[in-house]
Subunit: 112 residues, 2 copies
DNA sequence: TAATTACATTGCAATATTACGATTAATAAA
DNA sequence: TTTATTAATCGTAATATTGCAATGTAATTA
């Protein structure tokens, strides 16, 4: 059906899954890394940088923006995108929590 | 097209994206968390636990297994699944590296 | 051997994602 | 005002994902 049964899961599980989707495409990872590198928050240079079509990059940017991971401010004709600082604290906290939970289980040595 | 242009991106970006897909569904997060909790590495109790059909759970388990995140060993009629300890070190290292990279950028204060 | 149990696989339907050309909207420059 | 320039949006095609019923497979039990 292609539709996720979100009602079966906890808010946190759904939130993690939603955020993970942002990272589930190499272009979006590349975009985030590029924004981290060029702190000046460059925009459609990404099209040249990544080699995808303008419409495709725009689509990826929208997804990242909708999740609150980046924000964009209009700068004349172009748009300045940059990482949304506040959000990243929650994101890394959520994922670190998950990884801690999972790796702790392993280190306790009861795994098969 | 629904097909990702992996050749445009680095090995690490593609690896991160691939792994993120594992977390991009709440059922798979729930499965991993359940395996972490019941270290005894329980199997298709998941069907009752999660409320999805047997075939659906089996499919999610296969995806996690193909990524090397879990492993399963036959135990008579049933199968014991558990977290694959070695893999988790690499996974958390990769994601921590990404988050460090992104949050460091923010804390340096040049964001818009 | 026959029936049962526990999963995996197959086949299918519904929806989501990825990608891009074409179009549109808005600002800047001529 | 006309003409770029920049990027969002629309429409469409191809592929991927999610979910389940039905079926297949292998080990266990009667």
């Amino acid at each position: 059906m292609g539709i996720t049964k979100t009602d079966l899961f906890s808010t946190e599980q759904n939130e993690l899954a939603q955020l993970a989707k942002a990272f589930a495409h190499p272009a979006r990872i590349a975009i985030l890394q590029y924004l981290a590198k060029t702190k000046s928050c460059i925009n459609g240079t990404l099209v040249q940088e990544l080699g995808l079509a303008q419409a495709t990059i725009s689509q990826h940017l929208r997804e990242l923006k909708e999740l609150g991971l980046i924000k964009g401010s209009i700068e004349g004709v172009s748009v300045n995108y940059c990482l949304n600082e506040e959000k990243w604290e929650r994101v890394s906290a959520l994922f670190n929590g998950l990884f801690d939970q999972l790796t702790q289980s392993c280190s306790s040595g009861d795994c098969c």
